[in-house]
Symmetry: C2
Subunit: 479 residues, 2 copies
């Protein structure tokens, strides 16, 4: 099942590259949309305004009530106790078990895991040794799905290029070499193609391994991992990311005419798929229980950090959005469902299998919300949907004036592309002050140190207000 789904995903990747890469670029310049030309019926405006008291209760719960500091505490407790949660690992399943317990303890409805087969790639020991012009061991991180080098490693001369185009122009030089990509960082969306496609591009011209400059705007010698995809019909060669610093160093050596000799040693292995679970909890709707407002984040992570930011934070605020509604005794008309995805990092594997199970039921989804771009100070919502739906989201944003989170930014590219692009379900992401997101993303620096208790309180409040009010409107969001 998964291989067909993976193929479908890969095809979609070609047109929507950023969706597959798991994250998009922050959009720090987003401003509140001007008032929509779409005029909402007064009935709907009033319905939304009537939720101001509920919105205030939610905000107060998190900023000065029993929920104050709780989001940080819950997040830290999970990630500190379980640690990294890579796809296929026992620690991911431990995190899922812990979360099922947490969701039940909050007396949420229909708490359960839904089976999903997921990739199991393991890193093992790994290093790149510079042998000439001097002896130096680099910090590296193999890329997800990379094959290993075998026990002898690969020792070869390096060629350094700054683009795919340069590699093509110099393809005659690449045969038998280790191809080092020192592409400049433009944006995550644009530059991450070197990480996802660099190995096959190098193999195509006879390269024996590829090393990719980390996809990040700033570094303190920090390699960042991430998934990569081999192209069918091209030999699979080992691939890892190196730091910006080492990529630039080798580019200087290369320009200077210095011979660069490297030994690459990766124990990376692709093991058999394992059975995991998407974690589900609900607050069942009082009027339309079959209709769903979905809030989500992913529980899996890369294997190198406790990954508070990518994306335990998104998972925890999705939990909190339901918890506060339950704690305050609110009764939304339709069902609020939290989905804590498994194996997002290997290409949305868990969410894809969930979509497959719901493909005939997408008409019952009012909105699919996902937080996977940080839980820094929230500013509002990124949204994709019709003008009518956008006008509703903007009006709901007015309930969040006190939380300073009224921005509605419609630049959202599809995250849950299967839901949004194939079925036209409106989609949303948490808009937050995530300018530094790619400093930490997929690096060992993705830890609780980047999280702030006050910001997390606000994130939980904003996420909950949007989800609850959308769930409690008389009608689904218009398509």
């Amino acid at each position: 099942m998964r291989s067909v789904a993976a193929l479908l995903l890969l095809l979609l990747c070609a047109s929507v590259a950023t969706a597959c890469s798991g994250d998009r670029d922050p959009n720090p310049n987003a401003k509140p949309l001007p008032p929509s030309s779409y005029v909402l019926p007064e009935r709907i405006v009033q319905q939304i305004r009537d939720h101001q008291d509920d919105a205030n209760r939610i905000i107060d719960y998190f900023t000065k009530g029993p929920g104050q500091g709780q989001t940080y505490t819950r997040l830290a407790s999970l990630v500190d106790t379980v640690g990294p949660r890579p796809s296929g690992s026992a620690s991911l399943e431990r995190a899922i078990d812990m979360m099922l317990g947490n969701l039940k303890a909050d007396r949420l409805d229909n708490v359960h895991g839904e089976p999903a087969w997921i990739p199991h790639w393991v890193r093992g020991a790994e290093y790149v040794q510079l042998l000439e012009p001097h002896d130096f061991t680099m910090n590296i991180l193999s890329l997800g799905s990379s094959v290993g080098t075998g026990p002898q490693g690969i020792t070869a001369e390096a060629i350094v290029v700054s683009s795919f185009e340069e590699l093509t122009n110099r393809s005659a030089e690449a045969k038998g070499k280790i191809v080092v990509f020192n592409q400049p960082f433009v944006s995550y969306g644009e530059t991450s193609v070197y990480r996802t496609q660099g190995a096959s591009a190098a193999a195509k011209v006879g390269g024996v391994a590829s090393l990719i400059r980390t996809i990040a705007p700033f570094s303190i010698y920090s390699p960042h991992t991430g998934v990569q995809f081999y192209t069918d019909g091209i030999p699979k060669i080992p691939t890892a990311c190196i730091t910006i610093e080492d990529a630039e160093m080798m580019a200087r050596m290369h320009a200077r005419g210095q011979r660069i000799v490297l030994k690459v040693y990766l124990e990376a292995q692709n093991l058999n798929d394992t059975l995991s679970r998407n974690t589900v909890a609900e607050v069942v709707g009082s009027t339309h229980p079959e209709q769903v407002v979905l809030v989500s984040g992913h529980l899996d992570s890369w294997d190198i950090a406790e990954a508070a930011m990518d994306d335990a934070g998104g998972a925890i605020i999705s939990w909190q959005a339901l918890s506060v509604v339950k704690a305050l005794g609110l009764k939304p008309k339709r069902t609020m469902r939290a989905l804590l995805w498994t194996s997002e990092e290997f290409g949305g594997v868990g969410s894809q299998q969930y979509y497959n199970s719901q493909a005939n039921n997408t008409g019952n989804y009012s909105i699919v919300m996902e937080s996977d771009l940080g839980t820094f100070t929230p500013t509002g919502l990124e949204f994709t949907g019709s003008p009518a739906a956008t006008a509703i989201i903007q009006q709901i944003g007015q309930l969040l004036v006190n939380a300073n989170a009224t921005v509605v930014d419609c630049s959202l590219t599809f995250r849950h592309l299967l839901f949004c692009s194939l079925s036209g379900v409106p989609g949303a992401s948490l808009h937050n002050d995530n300018d530094d997101y790619f400093y930490f993303h997929h690096s060992r620096g993705d830890t609780m140190t980047v999280e702030d208790p006050v910001a997390l309180d606000l994130c939980a409040a904003v996420w909950a207000v949007y989800a609850y009010v959308i769930a409690d409107l008389d009608d689904m969001l218009p398509r």
Copy 2:
């Protein structure tokens, strides 16, 4: 000889802690001093003004002449080719040999190495494994002069404290434990005492190893090494720095009541001292060859990075200060001497031996200049000296209006404490925009990536103008 000198240095450390630690905190708020109340004789003012043409030639040489981009190129060529240059290593001697060749190629005078015995500490393999509450391998860096753990490593429960005071209050709990210091970062000068003294403080209360939170204001999971000193009469226990992230994680676990079990494995060893060299070159004075203006930086570094910032940059601009004077055919009245120190990182070991050789000759030193706080965009000079000398330095700064580097900041604490504090020789350091210095200092992130060609051109120009003009005044700087 060295042990007596080391003892002297250690005693001085007690009163001038920042000097021994090798670097001071940046002072980004420094502003030009107000006009000194000390009135310089018109004769001296005129002498200095008469050097405006020379100053302009030096600035032009580096910013639009043959020296443009050269400082960056020379710096990169050295550090990329040699790599890290730790005290006692073959690569440090290789760097010294390269530099002797470079200095001779520029036809500088009296190019030679002066013997100095230096420590030889080696890192070897090292790791800290979190065993409970989850399995996780931390990035660490053993601290310079630390002993190793032996082949079995040390496995024990951890105690986490945030200060020496807390350790004292909880000393009964520390016996047999690994002591983790999670002290907050206040400033490098204030906080680095945890790195330099943490091991002995832990051993004193029965700790079996100590792990020190990295001394830095910001981190992307970046451990920073540095020297540490064992206190006589207290058992020597292994010690390493850990990242801010892991220190905070363990503090949270400890506060939560979670049991923390660690395995510390360090192969660090202190080997026999080795014979190294301080690297010397001169432009011999035309009138007073026995009188010296000394410009300096250190060639050694920690073993983990090419260390462009700490301190190859300072060494290279000291070379450049002499090179430009030679290239332009300038003939300063007294000798300009460049000193590229060996083994600064273990407590100014090389400079101390140089001082010992000059202790009876300090009356012939007009000024001792050292650049060891970064070579970012220069803003002027940090200075320590008499009011009369300060007024002269301020007047020379006026020659640098075009280089936007007229700041004279008198907050300089003693760097070459033996020259300055014991013998009253005026001292100076390059004032530069080094706000982010401690992001990279003693970390693997200290690379050419933090250096900028245009900033380096200006650094060389500013360093050269001050040194040359001081060397060419009719008189030595007044004490």
